[in-house]
């Protein structure tokens, strides 16, 4: 037991920041695991540069990991940290502006050399010149303490220094009363083949913990009680991991082999990595020569009766457009995952954005409707992946899933579903003739549709008697033969659109959250903005003002009641991390003058900023200003 007084907090936001080589992502991941194991609710925001190792000690090389944990449910990684761990001057400089005055800073003084200060334009050390007076600063020589703790190890100085992130983790774990056993087990597995490195890391970790306990610099310790959560088995999960698990689960439920064609791209690559390790579950991953080949391989596999999936980010989605159009024309199931990032062009590879919505819905030649859906949190990626497979296999259509960098890398606790509770995804392949010809003989017509869903039969090679040809040229209704007939093309164009429209029959109505029932302002979002918007709505309601919130997971088609929902409010605010793409669709489709609120900063919306927007809108509505 610790000898120091324990103080209880209801929530804490910590940001670990250092050089790209300092291991901040790992430190954050480990702190997250320790926190999850304690039963806090949590949300994380990794934030790292696109360069693998930008020059050491520079501002572009700063990598950070923010974690928000609480004794109640958590919606976002937190707008502003309470605690900043700054491993070098660059990390301090890059992050200080986000830290409210009165917050706590832990700095690694060893790195505050003249040279390092100069690299980021500090004339004098901010630790010494009084410029940090408004914050609680703990000056700790993290590097030298680590090296000293490892004095007896036969390692080079460099190797010893590398363990300083474990020292920092140990210290923070002490500060917030986190157990170390999970991290110790993790290190044992990670360094099983390098016993000395393992011992060094364990020693540094414990030295950090003991430093907190013994040094007078830290007078109190904190604890955050577990959050009340529904009973069940939990794990933490990132969006990309949840997406991979959702796909595997869907394939398992549908009884289909899963074939992923993919070309590496940030922030989608982890889906390829994860699925490539799941062969045992009937998963085949093909790393293609480019994104066009990747989606082609997936479509070829779908033609053969597998679940064809391709994963990419915005630039890759652009390359896949023509093949997705072929999927629309041949009416085959196909799942396309777009883990969005900042654009245009290469844009901001490691930062988040929602700017591919219009590309997903409209970014192909011709009238080329597809289903588009979007997860609203990291763990929702699991459910959305299953929903994508449901739609693709039921309606024989490409489905585009719009996740983004924030969801992909962010993590949260996830109540692991039991397999029996997962949706059933029964798939029926055509097995014999489905029609008769003029003479009454049984025939197979590959474009004879299911009257309810308008889906065509999925007749896979190897099925005797159903031999047929499909392709991208316009097909005659029912028979699927090449047809250039004007009326037929008009009909087929409308049938393809009608099929997508009918998906709305099987998706839930949009639910509106308005606890008071008195709101006149609705805030409507889609995708990863769910957390910040919900947090903003809470802030607004806490001031006694009513606001309604709704969130779209289905973007093409929209839920059937969306128009009614929009028209029921005086004002509709649509926050998006683009320049108003959903707003454009809503205005076009429903003639409702929604108010777009946008930012493309590569980061999720701060909840406080959104709350201000909502406050203003509510005030104007109350004054009758339209």
């Amino acid at each position: 037991m610790s000898s120091k007084p324990l103080q209880r907090l209801d929530r804490v936001v910590i940001r670990f920041a250092g050089d790209s080589g300092d291991g901040m992502q790992l430190t954050g991941d480990r702190f997250t695991s320790e926190t999850a194991a304690l039963g806090n609710d949590l949300s994380t925001l990794p934030n790292f540069p696109a360069e693998i190792r930008a020059p050491a000690g520079t501002l572009p090389g700063v990598s950070s990991f923010q974690l928000h944990f609480a004794d109640h449910d958590v919606l976002t990684p937190g707008d502003r940290p309470d605690v900043l761990v700054a491993m070098n001057p660059a990390a301090l400089k890059a992050n200080l502006a986000d830290l409210p005055r009165g917050g706590t800073i832990i700095v690694n003084t060893d790195e505050f050399s003249k040279r390092n200060l100069a690299k980021v334009g500090y004339a004098a050390s901010p630790v010494e010149d009084g410029s940090l007076e408004s914050w609680h600063v703990h000056e700790i020589a993290l590097t030298s303490i680590t090296v000293e703790a490892l004095a007896d190890f036969g390692l080079t100085r460099k190797e010893k220094e590398r363990a300083k992130n474990m020292l920092a983790l140990g210290l923070l774990s002490w500060m917030y009363s986190r157990p170390l056993d999970g991290t110790e087990a993790f290190l044992r597995a990670k360094f099983a083949k390098a016993p000395e490195i393992l011992e060094a890391n364990l020693t540094a970790l414990r030295a950090g913990y003991n430093y907190g306990e013994t040094t007078e610099d830290f007078a109190v310790r904190f604890e955050v009680a577990p959050a009340a959560m529904p009973a069940g088995t939990y794990r933490t999960i990132t969006g990309n991991a949840a997406m991979a698990l959702g796909l595997v689960s869907a394939a398992h439920r549908a009884g289909l082999p899963l074939v992923l064609g993919s070309y590496p791209i940030t922030p989608a690559s982890d889906i390829l990595h994860t699925l490539s390790g799941m062969k045992r579950y009937g998963v085949t991953t093909l790393q293609a020569e480019d994104e066009i080949a990747a989606v082609g391989m997936a479509l070829g596999a779908s033609f053969g009766g597998a679940l064809g999936v391709t994963s990419t980010s915005g630039p890759g989605l652009a390359l896949k457009a023509e093949t997705i159009g072929l999927g629309v024309s041949t009416e085959l199931p196909l799942v396309i995952l777009d883990i969005q990032r900042g654009g245009p062009s290469t844009g901001l590879p490691t930062k988040t954005e929602q700017s591919d919505l219009l590309q997903a819905i409209h970014g192909r030649n011709g009238e080329s409707p597809v289903a588009v859906i979007a997860p609203q949190s990291p763990s929702d990626c699991f459910d959305i992946a299953m929903e994508a497979v449901r739609i693709a296999t039921t309606y024989r259509t490409p489905v585009i899933v719009l996740s983004d960098g924030y969801l992909a890398n962010g993590s949260e606790p996830w109540r692991v579903p039991s397999v029996e509770d997962l949706p059933h995804l029964d798939v029926e392949f055509a097995t014999g003739p489905n029609d008769t010809d003029a003479d009454g003989n049984p025939v197979f017509h590959p474009f004879l549709r299911d009257p309810e869903t308008l889906a065509r039969p999925w007749a896979v090679p190897g099925t005797a008697g159903l031999e047929h040809r499909i392709g991208g040229i316009e097909k005659a209704d029912v028979t699927g033969h090449i047809s250039y007939d004007p009326d037929n093309h008009d009909k087929m164009t409308r049938l393809r659109q009608g099929k997508i429209d009918r998906i709305a029959d099987t998706i839930p109505d949009l639910e509106v959250d308005d606890p008071s029932g008195e709101a006149r302002v609705l805030v409507l979002g889609w995708g990863s903005t769910y957390g910040p918007i919900a947090a903003a709505a809470r802030l607004v309601r806490a001031t006694g003002l009513p606001v309604a919130q709704a969130h779209l997971r289905h973007l093409s088609p929209f839920p059937a009641n969306l128009g009614d929902v929009l028209r029921a409010y005086d004002r509709v605010i649509v926050p998006e991390m683009n320049l108003g793409q959903l707003a454009l669709l809503l205005r076009g489709q429903f003639l409702v003058d929604v108010q777009s609120h946008t930012a493309v900063r590569g980061l999720p919306f701060p909840a406080a900023d959104l709350a201000e927007v909502l406050h203003k809108a509510i005030a104007q509505t109350l004054e009758g200003v339209q």
Partner: protein, 361 residues
């Protein structure tokens, strides 16, 4: 990096794993492979002859018709699948090798064929073509080379000679052409052959060898387009000319050009066509299609200087190496057998839980 596990791959024939007709089933005929669609190539197009040869040859494979799939790109030649009563996909320009790779890898029980043109395969689809060949996916690729873009009405193609006057090059093209056989050998295709639309017998033999090969078989078919590039291969068809110009390759046989010339190997390794009388004893090249080293096959493909004086026809290369699709499937199978069989609900539940869980009561 090394291969993780020895997959102990067999190297059976190209159609191994594809269901065959029962021994006592009536033999298929050309008619069984002819679809009800009206063929819409121009009169005299070389594609007709290739279609007839393929329809005539497919019954010899003895495979169940429903297990044969033709995937094509876009171009006149790529209409081919519509005319065959098998499964087929007329896909998009240049992408057939990628689509076929996904299909062949996920379905061992299919015989997968790719139909492509010189523009489809070598311009827009060049990347997919070379990667299919380097991977050695079990596909038979028929590349219809008419040295022109037919479907878009006569622009020059990546196989058109320098100086070709076409719709888009009124004063002659300036870009250097690909030699598809050289390209395929450079990509280390395990089977590379060349044949001619009008030579039904040769075409059929080459198709046979290609179908028997496990791995990517690239067959370049010289195909006449009477509308936009008529007579492109006339020198190789003309009774008086062809004898000297066509070098018929036969494995294990000396390579001859006409009845009085032979191909010799100079001491520096290069190849030359010389009068037989001048050839040093023992210097005549004996064709070895199974040579692991593609250099000689490549040298053969370079014998011609572009003027169609020495055009080898037949199988340049036919070597055995593990196929991509067999290995991909073997890895999945290995993961299943070492993991305790096909994953069931229990296994999925364990996967979902992962390593690090906690319980809320």
């Amino acid at each position: 990096m090394t291969t993780g596990t020895d997959l102990g791959m067999p190297s059976p024939g190209g159609t191994h794993g594809v269901p065959r007709l029962p021994e006592d089933a009536p033999k298929q005929t050309k008619k069984d492979f002819t679809s009800d669609q009206e063929v819409r190539w121009c009169p005299g197009c070389g594609d007709y002859a290739v279609l007839a040869a393929v329809q005539g040859f497919l019954p010899d494979l003895g495979l169940k018709r429903e297990n044969i799939v033709f995937v094509s790109g876009i171009g006149c030649s790529s209409r081919f699948p519509y005319y065959l009563d098998t499964y087929g996909m007329h896909s998009i320009h240049g992408r057939a090798p990628a689509i076929a790779t996904g299909l062949a890898t996920s379905r061992e029980d299919l015989s997968v064929w790719v139909i492509t043109g010189d523009g489809d395969a070598l311009s827009i689809g060049g990347n997919h073509l070379i990667h299919a060949m380097r991977r050695n996916v079990n596909l038979t690729i028929l590349l219809f080379n008419n040295k022109i873009y037919g479907l878009t009405k006569g622009q020059y193609s990546p196989t058109s000679e320098v100086g070709s006057v076409t719709k888009s090059t009124p004063v002659g093209s300036v870009d250097h052409p690909f030699n598809p056989v050289s390209l395929a050998l450079g990509a280390e295709a395990s089977f590379v052959a060349r044949t001619m639309d009008s030579d039904r017998a040769h075409l059929t033999t080459v198709l046979q060898a290609a179908a028997e090969h496990r791995g990517t078989a690239l067959v370049e078919i010289y195909q006449n387009c009477p509308i936009f590039n008529d007579g492109a291969f006339q020198l190789l068809k003309d009774r008086d000319e062809k004898e000297a110009r066509v070098l018929t390759l036969a494995h294990g046989e000396p390579v001859r050009a006409g009845n009085d010339h032979v191909v010799v190997r100079a001491p520096d390794g290069s190849l030359a066509v010389v009068p037989e009388a001048d050839a040093e004893p023992g210097s005549v090249l004996v064709h070895d299609a199974t040579d692991e080293d593609p250099s000689l096959a490549f040298a053969l493909s370079r014998l011609d200087d572009g003027s169609m004086t020495h055009i080898p026809m037949g199988v340049f290369r036919s070597v055995t190496r593990p196929t991509y699709d067999d290995q991909v499937r073997a890895q999945v199978d290995a993961a299943r057998s070492t993991g305790g069989g096909t994953a069931d609900d229990e296994d999925l539940a364990a996967l979902l839980r992962g390593g690090d869980t906690w319980t809320v009561a």
